[in-house]
Every structure is written in C-alpha cells, then in structure tokens.
C-alpha cells in the first residue's frame, strides 16, 4: 500500500509514533487486565469510587474496559504503519487531554463514572502530552511524503 505510493515504512525502532503506540498499547492492555484482577467483583461497573491499582490509581470496571480498548487500538496501530500510529496517537492523546482536564473538575460528583483520582489525572495528562507531542511533532517526513 504505502510502498506502492513510494513511501518508506520505518521499522518500529525508527518511528517514534510506532514505538510510542506499541509501548503505550502494551502498557495499557496490561493495566486493563491487571485492573480486572484487582477490582474483582467488589466494585460496580460505573462506581465513582473503587479499588486502587498499584496502590495509587483508582479504577472501576468501565475504567478497565476503556484501558483495554485504548491499549488494543494503540497496539494494533503501532504494529501496522506510521500513519495509523500517528492518527491513533493523536486521537487517544486528545481524548486523554480532555479526560485529564474534565476529569479534574468532576471528582466527587456522580459524573465521575471512571472513578478518577488525582493520580489518574496525572497519568492521563502525561499520557496526553506524550501521545499528542509525538503525533504532532514526530515522523514528519512520513507525513510530507504521503500528503
């Protein structure tokens, strides 16, 4: 596909977007799976408070499902192509930025359906910055060739 259009396909270690998408994908998949083990049956699907993952990050089952979906999307994109990784990194980064900001203001309200706490906000904002930063600022040669 991309080869037919004359674009190179950088290896995983040469493309920051593919590297980030793959690493974040694996980490978020593991976090999602671990979350289900930690939460078990002791928490509701959208409870506003839940158990702590690694003793820091508050989770509920919806939070775990979101982690699994995001992890899968990132991993698939990272293993696919640079353009897919750039797109998914940018999209997930924007969603995390939104969650990082909005989530901050809905703690202790019924709208906190992801059971977010301060550690979650920190992780979401860091993830958002890295994902958006790499989507906007890296692999520019790939973008300029394919555009």
């Amino acid at each position: 596909m991309s080869t037919a259009r004359g674009t190179a396909r950088p290896s995983l270690t040469k493309s920051p977007n593919r590297l980030v998408a793959t690493i974040f994908g694996v980490v978020y998949l593991l976090v999602g799976l671990l979350g289900f083990i930690v939460a078990g049956g002791g928490v509701g699907f959208i409870d506003t408070e839940g158990p702590l993952l690694l003793g820091i990050f508050q989770i509920n089952h919806l939070h775990n499902v979101v982690h699994l979906l995001i992890g899968a999307a990132l991993l698939i994109a990272g293993l696919s192509s640079v353009s897919a990784a750039k797109s998914v990194n940018g999209l997930v980064g924007a969603v995390y930025l939104l969650v990082g900001i909005v989530g901050f203001f809905i703690v202790d309200t019924a709208a906190n359906i992801l059971a977010l706490n301060t550690a979650d906000h920190f992780l979401h904002l860091v993830s958002a910055v890295v994902l958006l930063g790499v989507a906007l600022g890296a692999d520019k040669s790939a973008r300029s060739v394919t555009a």
Partner: protein, 181 residues
C-alpha cells in the same frame, strides 16, 4: 535550538495554558475572558510549534508569554474595580503558570536574538531520544501544572466535593460545609 528543547518549550506553553484555563474556570467575567483567551492562545501555539518545528509568531509569542503575569499583576492592583478578590487569583497556580511562561519567553527571546530573521530547522532526532525527551518534558510540565490546577478555586471545589465539610463558610453565621444547602 534542538528539536527536543523546542518540544519542551511547546509543552511549557501547554502547561501554562492548562493552568490559566483552571484559573479562568473560577474567575469573574473579566478575568474569565482574559485568562480563557490566553489559555486558548497558549495551547494553540504549543500545537503550532510541534507541527512546524520552529517557533511561529515569535514576537507575538514573546508578548503573549508575558501577558499572564501582567494580567495577574494588574488584577492585584485593580482587584476591587474588576470585582476580583484574592480567591480568584490563586497564587500557587499563577506562580506555576508564570514559571512556565517565563521559560517560554526566555526561549523565544533567545531564538529571536540568535536568529532574528530565519530560524534553522533542526533535524529530527533518534526515536528513542525524542521519546525520552518528550516523556521527561511531559512529567516535568504535568508536575508543575497539576498542583497548580489543584490550587485554583475550581480545583479546590473539585477535591472538596459537593458534600464536603471542609470548606469554610463565606457568610457570617453560616455553618461550615453547609454552603450549598
């Protein structure tokens, strides 16, 4: 200026934008408009830097980076006229945003001094170096921005929650923690 350093400056602008957004959320109309516009401009400039690999609109960015501290100082002096009290100007939050803004201003000023006309485009660094730099910058900026956001009135209200009994009453004779009843 290397690509990694340029990314850090962009992230500093993003952090300042997020904090100003938090301050605007709990501010009266005049400050809401000023800090709201400033935060949108800062976030947009961050995106532009990341996309363009250079500092766009350097003179405007330099002035804009100093606008946050200026609005803060002006609000302190003209507070009563603008219906602004101390609670609308959380010092820790605005100090955090000012720190990030000063970093942006210094970097842009340095760029203007070194390359007054055309900025050289730095080559893209190795993927691992780029990611390490980005992760370091993200942790540093979030480390400044998140506590700053937490000290805004919106952040304090969020962490106290609607049923908190830790808030101090604003009205004489009102019981603490029952302001919403």
């Amino acid at each position: 200026m290397t690509a990694v350093v340029r990314q850090w400056i962009a992230l500093a602008a993003l952090g300042a934008g997020l904090v100003h957004l938090g301050v605007a959320a709990g501010a009266p109309p005049v400050l809401l408009a000023l800090f709201g516009l400033l935060s949108v401009a800062e976030i947009a400039w961050c995106v532009a830097v990341l996309r363009a690999d250079r500092f766009p609109l350097r003179s405007v960015a330099l002035a804009g980076a100093l606008l946050g501290p200026l609005i803060w100082a002006a609000s302190l002096f003209a507070g009563p006229a603008l219906s602004v009290d101390a609670a609308n100007l959380p010092p820790a939050a605005l100090a955090g945003a000012t720190l990030l803004d000063v970093i942006v201003a210094a970097a842009v000023a340095l760029s203007l001094r070194r390359h007054p006309r055309v900025q050289p485009i730095a080559s893209e660094p190795h993927a691992g170096l780029l990611l390490a730099g980005l992760a370091l910058g993200a942790v540093a900026v979030t480390g400044v921005a998140l506590p700053a956001l937490g000290s805004t009135s919106a952040g304090i209200a969020a962490s106290d929650g609607p049923h908190s009994h830790s808030r101090v009453s604003d009205l004489p004779g009102e019981l603490p923690g029952h302001t919403g009843h």
